[in-house]
């Protein structure tokens, strides 16, 4: 788990102007700026919180990431 890369992506999606919008249109182009594994990319695209947690992502940035991607509250675990 490249934990650092996922947390950095999460922080950037939240705080870098326009990045979340670009991600929603072309996730791959955003991913290319972070050293993510294929499993991480797939899990992020799929909003797969369980896989990201199992891969070692801290629950706090996981919550932030899922919130940003529109999977909030109980939706995180569906």
């Amino acid at each position: 788990m490249s934990v650092y890369a996922v947390t950095r992506l999460t922080a950037d999606l939240e705080h870098v102007d326009g990045l979340l919008g670009r991600f929603s249109v072309d996730a791959e182009s955003v991913f290319n700026n972070y050293r993510l594994t294929a499993a991480e990319r797939d899990a992020i695209v799929a909003r797969d919180a369980r896989t990201l947690l199992a891969l070692g992502l801290n629950p706090v940035p996981l919550r932030n990431l899922m919130f940003l991607l529109g999977a909030r509250g109980p939706q995180m675990w569906q």
């Binding site: 934990v3 950095r8 939240e14 369980r50 947690l53 801290n58 629950p59 706090v60 109980p74």
Partner: protein
């Protein structure tokens, strides 16, 4: 010489300000009591001991402890939480940095430490005009390995000692925020362990925190949630209060806020 003349602790969930209408009167009355205390006591500065939820600090550089060293701090206003600019007290920050290092507490400092809801939500309840300047004090409560409960308690004692050796008669309040039981970013989010919360508050009230100081973080996380690990900030306040017993002003298992909300005032002895 200075003194920690006041200490308290409160939960900090963002819904305190995003969803205030669901708060029972007892919680609002308790926060009002803390606010009245601070202004009645003519406090010169608040040392607010809180944490961060991967807003300010990331894995590029994650400290165990970090103190704000500026004269003002901007709030993130993350995810609908309140924005604000909080007045700081750089002189006290500098004195604390020096004093704590002299007392073998090595900590980071930041001149650009933005604050998340763990600082700002309680401050919306505690401050009025004119605002009391704040020294924000970050404690790692969510990225293992965490500073131990004992380390946090000792840090609080060192804060009190440092303040007591200030050259001026500075009146300092130490306010801890966080907890109590809640799960963040986990399938159990929404659960509250009221038994844990009430046991914790009973121990705080009787100043019998030796039990808390020995609690294992894995045990806390399993039974009260990863959010309950934030009670280590309460240990800082307890140490700063010189182990004074606490008065539980209010407790409510706030399911609408997914958190057990506790508010405590430590009965700090008057300075000699």
């Amino acid at each position: 010489m200075g003194a920690v003349t006041y200490a308290a602790a409160t939960s900090h969930v963002g819904r305190i300000v995003r969803d205030p209408q669901t708060a029972p009167d007892a919680l609002n009355a308790a926060w009002r009591a803390l606010q009245d205390d601070l202004y009645d006591q003519d406090i010169d500065a608040l040392v607010v001991v809180a944490t961060d939820h991967y807003e300010t600090f990331g894995l590029d550089n994650y400290p165990s402890f970090c103190i704000g060293a500026s004269d003002s701090y901007d709030a993130w206003g993350e995810f609908g939480n309140p924005t604000a600019t909080i007045a700081g007290h750089s002189e006290l920050s500098e004195a604390l940095i020096k004093g704590l290092v002299q007392r073998d507490y090595d900590l980071s400092r930041s001149f650009d430490m933005r604050l998340d809801h763990s600082f700002v939500a309680p401050l919306t309840k505690l401050l009025r005009t004119p605002a009391i300047p704040v020294v924000p004090f970050f404690v790692n409560c969510n990225t293992p390995p965490l500073p131990s409960m004992r380390r946090c308690f000792g840090l609080g004692q060192a804060i009190a000692d440092t303040v007591e050796h200030l050259p001026d008669a500075t009146r300092v309040a130490v306010i801890a925020t966080g907890g109590i039981s809640h799960w963040v970013g986990l399938p159990r989010a929404g659960e509250i362990n009221e038994a844990f919360d009430r046991r914790f508050l009973d121990l705080i009230a009787s100043a019998a925190v030796d039990e808390v100081l020995g609690w294992d973080d894995d045990w806390i996380a399993q039974f009260a949630g990863n959010g309950a690990l934030e009670i280590r900030t309460w240990m800082v306040a307890h140490g700063a209060a010189r182990s004074a017993p606490g008065t539980v002003l209010a407790y409510a298992p706030m399911h609408a806020w997914q958190t057990g909300i506790g508010i405590v005032r430590y009965e700090v002895a008057a300075p000699r």
